[in-house]
C-alpha cells in the first residue's frame, strides 16, 4: 500500500497517533511520515483532526438534527451556489448533496431545540431556492465516525493460550 493511503487509514483510525508511532506502525522513518502528512495537508486531503464525542457521557449535550432539504434550481442557480450559502453557518456541521427523495442532507447542531428550529426557519427555509425542509432530531447516538459507543466488549480470552 502506498504511504498516503496507509497514513489516511491510520489517521482515520486514530488522529492522535504521533509521528513516531506512525513511523513504527508503517515501518517507515519519521521524516518520511512528516513529509507525507504535510503534503496531505497542503493538497487539502487532510482537512482537520477532531474528537469523536459520546455526548450522552458528557456534562452537557448539544441538540443535533439531520435536516433534509429540497431545492428548486434555475438557470442562474446550481447546487453549488445553494451549498455556498448554507455551508457558511456555524450551526451546519456537515452538508452533503445526496441522491434520492431530497437534495441536501445537513447535520445541524445548536444549544437547544429552539435554537435549531429557529436556525432552520429563519436562515435555511427562507433561502429562495429551498422548497422544503424536514428536520429529524437526534435522539440517541450509537456509533459516530466508525466508533461504537457503549462499554465495548470485554476481552474474555484466556490470558495464555497455545
Amino acid at each position: 500500500m502506498d504511504t498516503r493511503a496507509e497514513l489516511l487509514g491510520l489517521l482515520r483510525e486514530n488522529a492522535r497517533y504521533s509521528v513516531s508511532d506512525l513511523a513504527r506502525l508503517t515501518g517507515r522513518d519519521e521524516n518520511e511520515i512528516e513529509e507525507a502528512i504535510a503534503t496531505l495537508e497542503q493538497d487539502g486531503v487532510l482537512q482537520g483532526y477532531q474528537a469523536v464525542v459520546d455526548w450522552s457521557q458528557a456534562d452537557s449535550e448539544p441538540v443535533r438534527a439531520t435536516v433534509e432539504l429540497n431545492v428548486a434550481l434555475d438557470r442562474e442557480t446550481g447546487y453549488d451556489d445553494i451549498a455556498q450559502r448554507i455551508v457558511k453557518f456555524e450551526e451546519v456541521r456537515s452538508l452533503r448533496l445526496v441522491s434520492g427523495d431530497f437534495d441536501f442532507a445537513l447535520d445541524v447542531e445548536a444549544d437547544s431545540m429552539g435554537a435549531v428550529s429557529r436556525f432552520i426557519s429563519e436562515q435555511v427555509a427562507p433561502v429562495p431556492e429551498v422548497t422544503q425542509t424536514v428536520t429529524h432530531y437526534v435522539m440517541e447516538s450509537y456509533k459516530e465516525n466508525g466508533i461504537e459507543f457503549g462499554d465495548g466488549h470485554d476481552d474474555d480470552r484466556l490470558s495464555v493460550t497455545p
Binding site: 484466556l158 490470558s159 493460550t161
Partner: protein, 381 residues
C-alpha cells in the same frame, strides 16, 4: 481398590508447558498478555448473523459426516487462490477445529512405532497427538540463524528421512516465520526423495505480510502425499466456534472420516453456516484484521529494535519470536510477569529449539501493546 490406572501413552505426555505460566498469569490483576494464541477481534458480523439465522431457522441437526456439502464446495473454491484443487466429495473433511483434523490424521496413519518428524518450534499439540496415536516423535530443530524456516539440512541432521510422517506449520506458531516458494520446494523435494507423508498445518495462511502464502501441497508430486489443515479460527477470528478442515488424498480423507464418524459424527452444525458465509462474503473483514495485525507487527518490531532486542522480521501469523535478553527465557518471562505484569511465553514451551526466545503475540489492541512495550523497556532498565 487402586482406582483406574491411566494409560502409559497419556502418562508419558507432560502437561502443556504453557499451563504453569497460564496459572501464574491468571492469578494476577492488570496483566497485559502477549501470550494469547487467538485473535482479539470477534468473528465478522456477517458470519455471526449467519450462525444466528441458522439457529432461528431450526438448523440444529447433524450434518453429513464430512461436513455440509455446500461448505465443502465453498472451501474447494476458496483454496483455489493457493493453487490447490480438491474434490469436495472425496478430498475435503470438515472437522471440529484443525486440531481434530490433525488428531484424526495421526490416528488414521500412525501405527505403533511409526516415526513422526515434527518441525520445531511448533504448536504444542503435534507431539502429544502423535504420541497418543502410538507414534514415536522425532523433533526437527529449525534454527534461529535460518529464521526458523525448515531446510533439507536440518531434516538431514534429525534423520527425518527415515520418518514416516513430517509435520510442519508455516506461517508458523510460535515464530511467525513464513516460507517462500523456493524454500518450500526444497522441503518438497526432500519429502518426495524420502517418501514422507507431509502434514502441513496452514491455519495462518491468510495472515501473511510479505507476499502470498504458498502451500507445499501445490508442488508437483506433493498433493498425493500431503494433508493440509486450515480452518476459521485465526483469519476469521472464530476460535470458539471450533471449525477447521483437512484436504488430502481421498484414501487418507476416507480413513480420517472413518475415525471422525465414530468419534465426532460431524463437526458442529452452527459454525458450518457461519463458515460458508465467512468464505463467501467476509474477505473485507479478513483484510481489515490482517492490516491491523501488520501495523501492530511493525510497531512491536520497531519497539524491539529501539530497545536493542534482536528479532528477525517474522512475516506471518500474529507472533514475533525475539531473542530473550537473558539466557534463561523462562526466568525472564516469569520476572517480567511478576514485576511488570506483562505475559510472554518462553520459547521452550514449543520445543528445545525455541530456547532463548520468547513468543510475543500481537493479537492485542495497539494501546495495550504500547503499554506492554513501555513496561518491557522499564523492566530492561
Amino acid at each position: 481398590m487402586t482406582g483406574p490406572s491411566i494409560a502409559e501413552r497419556v502418562r508419558q505426555v507432560p502437561p502443556s508447558g504453557i499451563r504453569r505460566f497460564f496459572e501464574l498469569a491468571e492469578e494476577m490483576d492488570d496483566v497485559i498478555s502477549l501470550g494469547v494464541g487467538e485473535p482479539d477481534f470477534t468473528a465478522p458480523s456477517r458470519a455471526r448473523e449467519a450462525a444466528i439465522s441458522s439457529i432461528e431457522q431450526g438448523r440444529t441437526s447433524y450434518t453429513a459426516n464430512r461436513g455440509k456439502r455446500e461448505l465443502r464446495e465453498t472451501i474447494a473454491d476458496h483454496i483455489g487462490k493457493w493453487d490447490l484443487t480438491y474434490d469436495p466429495a472425496e478430498e475435503i473433511l470438515v472437522t471440529a477445529g484443525a486440531s481434530e483434523a490433525l488428531d484424526l490424521t495421526f490416528r488414521a496413519l500412525v501405527d505403533p512405532g511409526d516415526i513422526v518428524a515434527v518441525a520445531q518450534p511448533s504448536y504444542v499439540s503435534y507431539v502429544p497427538s502423535a504420541i497418543f496415536a502410538g507414534g514415536t516423535v522425532r523433533p526437527v530443530q529449525t534454527k534461529a540463524q535460518d529464521e526458523f524456516v525448515l531446510t533439507p539440512e536440518v531434516l538431514e541432521e534429525a534423520d527425518a528421512g527415515d520418518a514416516d510422517l513430517l509435520v510442519l506449520c508455516y506461517p508458523n506458531n510460535p515464530t511467525g516465520a513464513t516460507m517462500t516458494e523456493a524454500e518450500l520446494a526444497r522441503v518438497a523435494a526432500f519429502a518426495r526423495e524420502h517418501d514422507l507423508t507431509v502434514l502441513s498445518d496452514e491455519i495462518y495462511a491468510d495472515l501473511t505480510y510479505a507476499g502470498e502464502h504458498t502451500s507445499i501441497a501445490s508442488f508437483e508430486g506433493m498433493k498425493e502425499r500431503t494433508v493440509v489443515y486450515n480452518g476459521f479460527s485465526k483469519a476469521y477470528a472464530m476460535t470458539g466456534l471450533r471449525l477447521g478442515y483437512a484436504l488430502g488424498p481421498s484414501e487418507v480423507i476416507n480413513a480420517m472420516n472413518r475415525v471422525h464418524q465414530y468419534t465426532m459424527l460431524s463437526a458442529p452444525t452452527t459454525p458450518q453456516y457461519a463458515a460458508i458465509e465467512a468464505l463467501q462474503s467476509c474477505d473485507a473483514s479478513v483484510e481489515a484484521m490482517r492490516s491491523q495485525y501488520d501495523h501492530r507487527r511493525k510497531f512491536v518490531l520497531s519497539r524491539f529494535s529501539e530497545m536493542g532486542i534482536d528479532c528477525f522480521e517474522a512475516t506471518g501469523a500474529f507472533y514475533v519470536f525475539p531473542e530473550c535478553p537473558w539466557d534463561d527465557a523462562e526466568a525472564f518471562a516469569q520476572a517480567l510477569l511478576e514485576e511488570q505484569n506483562v505475559a510472554m511465553v518462553p520459547g521452550t514451551a514449543f520445543g528445545d529449539s525455541g530456547s532463548g526466545h520468547l513468543r510475543v503475540s500481537y493479537a492485542t489492541g495497539l494501546e495495550e501493546l504500547r503499554t506492554a512495550m513501555n513496561r518491557l523497556e522499564r523492566f530492561l532498565e
